[in-house]
Each structure stands twice: as C-alpha cells, then as structure tokens.
C-alpha cells in the first residue's frame, strides 16, 4: 500500500491529568504523534495505560489538560464540533453499550445521518443503510427491525462499522473494537478496516492491547506505557527490533502455537 505523506492528524504534547480531591492522576503524559492520510496506525498498551483517554480526546469528547490536536492543519478547538465529527468518528470497545437498547437497528443507523451535511429522506437513507450493511457482510433483512439485545456482539460491532461506511469520515478512531468479539470474527473486523481504507481512503487509529493484532493490520505501531508513548515506528521495526524493555516484554508474551508459553516479569 502506497502511503501519502500528507498529515491528517497531529497530536502535540497532549496531556491529561484527572484530579479527584487532592489526588492527581496523569493519564496521558506529553504524547506526540501524527497520522497520515490513508494510514492505519495502532496504539498498543495494557489496560490503564491511557489509550482510551487519548481516543476520547481525539474524538473531542474529553478536554485535554494541555497540548494540542491538529486536524488537517487546524486546531480542533477552532473547528465546530459538528463539522469535526463529520470528519472524525469513533467505534467503541463494548458493542453492547454502544447502542441505545430502546431503538431498533434501523433507527440507530438513521440517526447517524444527522451529522451529515446533506439531508436525506427516509427512503434515501434506507438505500444507503442497506448498502452499508452489505459492505460489512450483514444481511439487512436480518437486523434492521431488531433490537440491539437480539444481536450478537460481532453483528453489533459490524453494524457500528456500517455506520462508518455511511458517514465516511476521514479519520476513524477504533477503541478496542475487537476485544469483546471471539477470535474468528476479529480477523473479519480487521479486514473491514482495510476495506474502509481502500474504498474511502479513511485513516484509522486502531487501539488495542493485542500487539499481534496490531502487527497484522497496521502500517505503524505506537507502544504506550503509563501514559507515555515509549516506542514508535513501522510495524516491522517495532516487532522485529524493539528497543524499549516494555515492548520486548509485550512481544514475548504473545502466545504462539507449538511453543511453551513463559510469562516474563515486568512492571
């Protein structure tokens, strides 16, 4: 895949400190990176390393304590939220709580048209919805009239991706989209991300704790540990020649078949 060198998103010295009473927790500590057009990058780290906080800040759902996020050359503080969300969208970890359980799938997907510039009538919307569902390999007749709790986790997460096919953002932040899905469907979801990039030229930030998955899908990998990015580079480089001890530990912990699995000790 040929990459363009145009920067889609730039994060500069982003910091988030949560204050509760006298306690201060630095969730994200002076993080800087950039994402290019049509690039898939992975942010890898264990639970509590600050991955989701970064995702929420990039999605403009959470204010940063300091630092800046630049999208297409503009600070996101200067971009109207509605316009920003037309261009930057997200998928969250838990498909079961990403849906309002009182509405059927059709209504959930129709609602996503609200962020778009153009207005559609219901017929036009439904045509686009059906096309989007077909792109994520779901039979529209199977799900449109169903409530979220009648669907499986894998189906719901694919419907969330169908939402992205409808909105066609320039950047997708996918926060652990595969962690609650069984392993066979995981590869499926990752293929859909590649399809998104090919068809719509979407840049994708894939957040995961699974370095194996990250290697499988991404152009570049950022390793996060305790709120800091400790290692960054192309997927090959990070996996084959890790510099930081934390990265080395992560890679050694990936279980492989036909090999005894020994856990390394790390903090």
């Amino acid at each position: 895949m040929k990459l363009s060198n145009n920067t889609r998103l730039e994060v500069r010295e982003l910091t988030k400190i949560f204050v509760s009473g006298r306690r201060k927790i630095t969730a994200v500590d002076q993080v800087s990176f950039e994402i290019h057009e049509r690039e898939i990058v992975s942010l890898v780290g264990q639970s509590g390393s600050g991955k989701t906080t970064i995702a929420h800040m990039i999605l403009n759902l959470l204010k940063s304590t300091s630092g800046s996020i630049i999208f297409d050359g503009k600070d996101i503080k200067d971009i109207k939220k509605k316009i920003y969300w037309r261009n930057v969208q997200g998928i969250f970890q838990d498909p079961f709580s990403s849906f309002n359980q009182f509405f059927v799938v059709k209504k959930v997907l129709r609602d996503s048209f609200k962020i778009l510039d153009k207005s559609f009538n219901n017929e036009e919307k439904d045509k686009i919805i059906i096309k989007a569902l077909e792109s994520v390999n779901i039979d529209p007749g199977d799900v449109l009239e169903k409530y979220p709790f009648e669907l499986s986790g894998g189906q719901m997460q694919r419907i969330m991706i169908a939402r992205i096919f409808i909105i066609k953002p320039k950047l997708l932040i996918a926060d652990e989209p595969t962690s609650m899905i069984d392993s066979i469907l995981r590869a499926n979801i990752l293929k859909l991300f590649e399809k998104l990039r090919e068809k719509q030229g979407t840049s994708i930030m894939f957040i995961t704790h699974d370095i194996g998955l990250a290697y499988y899908v991404s152009d570049r990998i950022f390793i996060m540990h305790r709120g800091k990015i400790v290692e960054a580079g192309s997927a090959e480089q990070v996996i084959m020649n890790p510099n930081h001890t934390y990265t080395k530990g992560l890679i050694e912990d990936v279980p492989t078949l036909h090999k005894e699995w020994i856990l390394t000790k790390r903090s």
């Binding site: 999605l59 759902l61 509605k82 969300w85 997200g90 709580s97 990403s98 309002n100 009182f102 609602d111």
Partner: protein, 277 residues
C-alpha cells in the same frame, strides 16, 4: 408498552393499581352523575349510620358518605397534580445537574440541598397561612414545589452514571445536543425509576394535603378527606363517640396511600431483580 407488560406480571402492582383506579373512577363517575350536593344539610348533627345515610351525618348534618366520595376525588386530584409537578421539577433539575456537571451541577446541588434541609412541612404551613384564598390547584402546586428534592438527587445520581455510557458518546458523535441526548439516551433508561418515584410522590402529596387540611389550612370551598378530619376534630366527634365522622376519611386516606405504596413495591420487585425471590 414493554414496561407495562412486565409490570402486569406483578400481582402486587395489579392489586394496587386496581384499588387505586376503582377509587379514582368510582369517585369520578359518582360525582358527575349524582345530583347530590355534598354541602347540603340533610339531617341533624352526628346522626349515626342508618338506611338513608349509610355513614351517618357530620357536625353540620351532612351525609358523610357523599362527602367522603367528593373528598376522595379532591385528595386524589391534589395528589396526582402535586406528584406530576414534583416529578417534573425533580427530573428536570436532576438530569440537568447530572448531565451538565461542573458549575451548573454545583449550583443546582446547593439549591436541592437547601430545599432538603428546610423542613418542607413548615414551608407548606407558612405558605398556606400567607395565602388568603387557597384553591385546590394552588395547594397542589405548593406541595409539588416543596417535595421534589429527593427525586432530583436520585435522578442526578443516575444521570451522572448513565452519561458515561458509550451510546451517549455515540449520540454526541451524531451531533445530538444536550436536550436530545437527555430525552433519548438517558430518560428512557430511567423511566421505570421515574414512574416509581411518581407513584410515591402522589402518595406523599395526598398525605401532605390531609395533614395541611387537618390543621385547618386546606383548600377553601371544597371538601377533602383532610378537611373532614379537621371538622371532626374541631367539633369533638371523638369525644361524642361519633366514630363515623372520622374513621371513614382516615381509612380512605390509608387505603389510597396503601394502594399506591403497594404498586410501588410491586414495581420495585419487577425492576430490581435482586428483590425477586
């Protein structure tokens, strides 16, 4: 609709609902079709129950049974209206404080706490005394305005937990505003709870009205269950042994409140699976 269907599985809820609706529609239908004037004096003071007057007469020589039916209608009206007002104010303040957080939360929280620590019955008495004429609606409004704080608190707590859910974030990413998110993404999840609170508020509204009226601060120119008790107290029904003047209204208040509380218990068992045995 689904909510109603699950509720109808609870025996307690059905019993409570039936008793309440029976009393409500009984009094509504009787008062519209009957030609009796409840204030008409049809006998002497404290006549014991007889064939003509099933529950005897009161201190003014009025038929207690007819008074009781009219009083029931008044009490339920005050209860429902004050319940609606209190639930509405409580839910609005609770969701606003919980969803917006920060400064607005602090301000609304202090107001709520202020209302909580001031004994509401004292405010009720002071307000009622200061008003020259007290209509039923005004009384219901006063009761509603003084009894919302607990609802606001509980709703605020639930909202601040619900707003961190991912479907709320999704709605934000769809560009939905605060009002839309509260109405679509937060309120439906609390609907069962708000309904329960409403029922409790109706019950406490009826009790407050009875309490106020008993003290002689009830609505002017109407009969209510509390006012019947107040008359019985003033005209020494207890000392003269005229039990029919005070036991029926007291019992009716008890039955209405009981039916509402029983509905509430039934709902609690449906919505709170831990209570199911």
């Amino acid at each position: 609709m689904k909510l109603l269907k699950t509720l109808l599985k609870s025996k307690k809820f059905i019993i409570g609902l039936c008793v309440f609706l029976l009393l409500l529609f009984g009094s509504l239908i009787f008062t519209t079709i009957s030609s009796h004037d409840p204030a008409e004096m049809i006998g002497f003071l404290y006549e014991p129950p007889s064939k003509e007057h099933l529950l005897g007469t009161d201190n003014f020589g009025r038929d207690v049974l007819i008074e009781l039916i009219y009083g029931m209608k008044t009490s339920i009206y005050v209860g429902l209206l004050s319940g609606i007002i209190a639930t509405f104010i409580g839910t609005t303040i609770g969701t606003t404080a919980g969803y917006l957080g920060k400064t607005i939360d602090n301000i609304l929280n202090s107001i709520t706490n202020l209302f909580l620590v001031i004994p509401s019955f004292v405010i009720l008495i002071l307000l009622s005394v200061s008003l020259r004429s007290r209509s039923l609606t005004l009384l219901a409004m006063i009761i509603g305005i003084t009894s919302w704080p607990w609802t606001a608190r509980a709703v605020r707590a639930q909202t601040s937990s619900l707003k961190t859910r991912e479907h709320v974030n999704m709605a934000k990413l769809n560009g939905e505003g605060y009002v839309e998110i509260v109405l679509k993404e937060i309120l439906p999840y609390m609907l069962s709870y708000i309904f329960m609170v409403f029922v409790l508020q109706v019950a406490s509204g009826i009790l407050s009205e009875a309490g106020l009226s008993m003290l002689g601060l009830g609505p002017s120119n109407t009969i209510s269950l509390g006012k019947m008790l107040s008359w019985a107290l003033l005209y020494e029904a207890v000392r003269t042994g005229a039990w029919w003047a005070f036991i029926p209204p007291a019992l009716t208040i008890a039955i209405i409140t009981f039916s509402l509380l029983y509905m509430n218990t039934g709902m609690d068992e449906v919505f709170n699976p831990r209570l199911r045995s």
